[in-house]
Symmetry: C2
Subunit: 66 residues, 2 copies
């Protein structure tokens, strides 16, 4: 399992936390959002998905991965 922390802009409330964590879960990624830090720790299986696809899933929800 690979572990990476992304900087994500635009998350403002617990609904955003849920939206991102649920979306990641759907693609088999464990996401831990830190709303105050504006970060998302993603834990994923590299043989299953790559970081680019994870970033896209987050951006599709309306947030910016910086």
């Amino acid at each position: 399992m690979k572990n990476q922390t992304l900087k994500v802009e635009g998350m403002s409330c617990n609904h955003c936390v849920n939206a991102i964590e649920s979306t990641l879960k759907e693609i088999g990624v464990k996401g831990n959002v830190d709303l105050n830090k504006g970060s998302v720790e993603v834990i994923y299986d590299e043989s299953n998905i790559n970081l680019e696809a994870i970033k896209e899933a987050i951006e599709d929800q309306g947030y910016d991965v910086v």
Copy 2:
């Protein structure tokens, strides 16, 4: 139908808009949220519900009606 605009604190994103509008709809109230102004216009039937119950429904979602 009665029409009133409430000042609501804590709304930060479109998820919040949806949460409030859906909750109001469930109790038979039409709600128009203005995210920038931090206001919620409520349109309701006084014979059906009173303003106090509407405020409670909004506060139960985690927002402050001020």
